[in-house]
Structure formats: structure tokens, C-alpha cells
Symmetry: C2
Subunit: 299 residues, 2 copies
Amino acid sequence: MKVIRDAEEMRRWSRGQLAARRSIGLVPTMGALHAGHTSLVDASVAADDVTVVSIFVNPAQFAPHEDYETYPRDFDEDCAKVETLGGTLIYAPTAESMYSKDYATYVEVERLQEGLCGGARPHFFRGVATVVAKLFNTVLPDRAYFGEKDGQQAAIIRRMVRDLEFGVEIVTMPTVREADGLAMSSRNAYLSPGERERALSISRALLEARETLEAGERKAERILAPVRKALSSLEIDYIALVDADELTPVDRIEGRVMLAIAAQIGKTRLIDNIQFDAGRKKESVPKPSKTSRVGPTER
Amino acid sequence: MKVIRDAEEMRRWSRGQLAARRSIGLVPTMGALHAGHTSLVDASVAADDVTVVSIFVNPAQFAPHEDYETYPRDFDEDCAKVETLGGTLIYAPTAESMYSKDYATYVEVERLQEGLCGGARPHFFRGVATVVAKLFNTVLPDRAYFGEKDGQQAAIIRRMVRDLEFGVEIVTMPTVREADGLAMSSRNAYLSPGERERALSISRALLEARETLEAGERKAERILAPVRKALSSLEIDYIALVDADELTPVDRIEGRVMLAIAAQIGKTRLIDNIQFDAGRKKESVPKPSKTSRVGPTER
């Protein structure tokens, strides 16, 4: 498996691909690859001429008390997986080369980075946005692939790409689940059998909520109440029903929404979500009514 | 003169240039082009295969009480100048296309954006860094040109490019001055004849300080005191002698330093600086002394 560790070499390689008019797909990962990552690599291999998988456990998105040191790492195994999947190369820069001692520059996606996981992890998303900007500038992808499971992250990256005009197409792929419904995550490895059993209630509650949405329920509270009840024995960080782009809570289900959950299971923080498209959002045009006749002298 | 206003069209044009292996120079401006800008365009025309001059009065770098509305604008005159200088095209996006109503993403260069002009203009440099990142992502330059007169800006852009790995070479060109020494600035047009006369004391003090530096003075206070005295009748925002990269105040002149001044002349805020290279900075290696013998049992 071809591995590049140096940013300049990476950019040179990518410029060569672009000069040869080959499209570049990027799958940014922190390694410890599982079936969720596999679906992203598969999508890129199918769509792009070359597929770069980046493997970088990004210190900027971990708080000091979090699991940066213990985050699962298995570089050789990851390389073997990417090779089997048909990925073209692995970009694996070092933390020292990514963040010099006098490192100073961060990308902030205001508002979107503040709610949901941003509450418990206030510097998390600026770390994510910053490292993704760096990877885009080095790998020069045409498309980049993210999992729907990290729903807030995907919304933030989409917004960053639009606002900073990165010219990269963001592709999000559906959450891959274990046979019992648990969303794939590198952090699932931390769970004891008992914790894992308790964690299952999250995906069960989400999948039941999806059925309620599919049955036509459009009041947010009617979706949220049963989820809160089902998870009442867990240590919940948040249960939120938000607009999938703005990440602001909704009262009624319109347009694309996300029902997102974060919970602490023992020492492990898990997140999961479902996304649902209720069809075109109604424009907030004032309806004509008896009290709002607009006459020629009004503006 | 070829003018592009649409970001997608701009990127398509630049991709075409890169595919044809032509190097792209970018001169980012807010228009109202003067001899300072001319030197940047000249440098790019000499070094790059194609030269893009962006003209965009960037609302994100003006505070509500500042001169965004009244900032000098003369698009036709600017186009004629760029054409005469041999620039290839003008990129002039609209404010609405650059900043949508739900715009959320900003590039922050911490520490460097806080001192000097960052004190009086707390959101200025994030506005600058953000718009330059957007221009880089759209124009895809190999080199970008900035004036030394905006010394803090140049240091911030260099740091941003290094940290976010933009792969753009930043070229800074010496400050261009009027015959009487006043640094060229689009805002000089605001000055009454009397104000202009008072403004001259800034460049005079800087040029005298440069002579003192060139004569070998290495104590910061001996440089600063005469400048403060010469400008005591002006409304000074700051007079600072800083490391040219870190922008932190220095006591002794070592390495590359910047003596920077900001002053309010009537309603006009003017900045100017000189930069001076005192040669290689001494490494801060602890000297051996009687009290610091490191024995085998010490670490």
C-alpha cells in the first residue's frame, strides 16, 4: 500500500493526478477502520479515478480529558483494509507536522458548532473543520466522503465548504450498523458486554422514531417524548430533533431533519442519529387572512 | 479588460490555466488602486504566467462604525489601470455572493490577530483571513502579493498559509511612498491638506528610526522613545516594535522586526511601519554558568 506522510509530497502527488485529469476522492478517517469507513471507501472507489484515505488521529479535536492517547490505532491493519478495498493511497501525516508549536489558525463554523455535541465538546468542531480544511488543501480532492452517523460534523463540513468556497463535493453515506442495530464506531471497542447491551437502546429508540416519522407524525414533541422515555435510564447528553442543515431545534417536521442522541455509557461517549426528509419545507409566506388585506397604500 | 464576477466561473478559468500548466498570480485588493497596488501587479506580471487582480471591498473586515459605505470605489478606473499594467483578468465578486445571509465560517489566526490593529479593530483580521482563504480557494493562485505597509496583515496571511497548508507562495512588496514620504493608501484620499501635513510626521519618525537601526542601535526603548516624542501631538493608537513574524513586542532588536504605528488623523485612521532585519536571531541556549552545572543525577 502506498503511504505518504509528508504534506508537500502529498500535494505534489495530487497535482500530478489533477494534471492527468484524474478525479481525486478523499476519505478522511482517524483510522481503526470499520464497516462504516468501508462504505465510504467503496463509494469513492466507484466514483473517483483515485481514492486517498487519510489516517490521522487529530489532537485538535480532543479535549485534554478525552481519549486522544487511548483512541484505537492499528495502522498495519488499516493499510491492509484500504488495499483490499482498492484505495489508491494512504495519507498519514504526523501530529508534529500538522500542528507546529506556534500553530495559530483555526476554522470556526459559528452557530452550527455550538449546539448538540458542541455543548459537551466546545473545541471539537473547530478541530474537525480545521483539520478537514488542511486535508483539502493538501489532498486537493474533487469529492470527500463522510458518514451520516457524524451528522453534525457533516453539516458543519458542508457549510464550511460552501462558505470558504472549497470547490469540493461533500458526499455523505448512510450509517452502517451492526446486526443488532448499534451504529458502527471505533469507540464501540471500549464497551463491555453489559455496556454494549445498554447502548443498544439508543439505536432501538431511533429506529422506532423513524417508523413514527414514516407513519406521518409531524410534531417534534410526539417524536421526542417516547425517545426520552425509552432512554430514561441512560446518562443522556442530548436528545434533539433539529433541522439537518441549520442544526436548530424544530417544533414541526418539515424539510430534512435529524434526530440526534449523545449518551455516556460508562466511560464511553456514543452518538447516533437518524435523518428524515419530510419533503419540501414550506416557505414562510404570510397566508392571506381576514386581518391582512394588503391595500395599495400599504407596503 | 476581462472581468469575472462569479466564483464558479473564476474557479473554472483557473483550473483551465493550471491544466495548461500556467502559473497564476493573485493580487487581492479592495480597488481604488494606487502606486502601492501597481508594484504588486508589476511583480506578478513579471513572475507569473497570468495575473488575477481581485477587487472586492470586503464587508467582513469593517466594523459597523467604520467606512465600508464610503470606502473609495472606482471600478472603471481600476480596470483601465490593471489593463495598462498587463494584468490578465479582474475577479470582482459581489458582497451578496461572498456572504450569504446564513454565512457562518471564519478563519481565525489566534494571537497574531489580537495585538496592534487587532486592539482597535477586533474583527478586522478574521475578516481579512477569511476573505483571503475564499479568494485562494476560487482563484487557485501559485503566488499571492501583499504590501509590506499592511505588515500585520502580511504576517497573518503567511501564518494562515503555513498552518492551513494552502500551498500558496506569499510575496510581500516594499511600501510605496508619496514623494514626501507618506505611505500610499486608498484612505489618503480622505485627508484635508492640513491633516495630510500632520500625517507626514508618522513616516518621518519611521524613517528616522530606520536610520537609528541602521546605525546599530539594538535597544527597543532607544528606538521607541524618539518616535513617541515626535508624534506626541497626534492621536496615537499604538507605537510598537515587534517581532515581524510573531508580532510580539521585543526589548532588543534581533532577527526581523517591525516598527508599526497607527494613528487617527481627524476621521481617518492611518497605519505605517518599517521593517528591519538585524540578522540571525540568537537561539535561547542557556549559557554555562557557575550555578548551572548539570550533573549526571539531574535531568
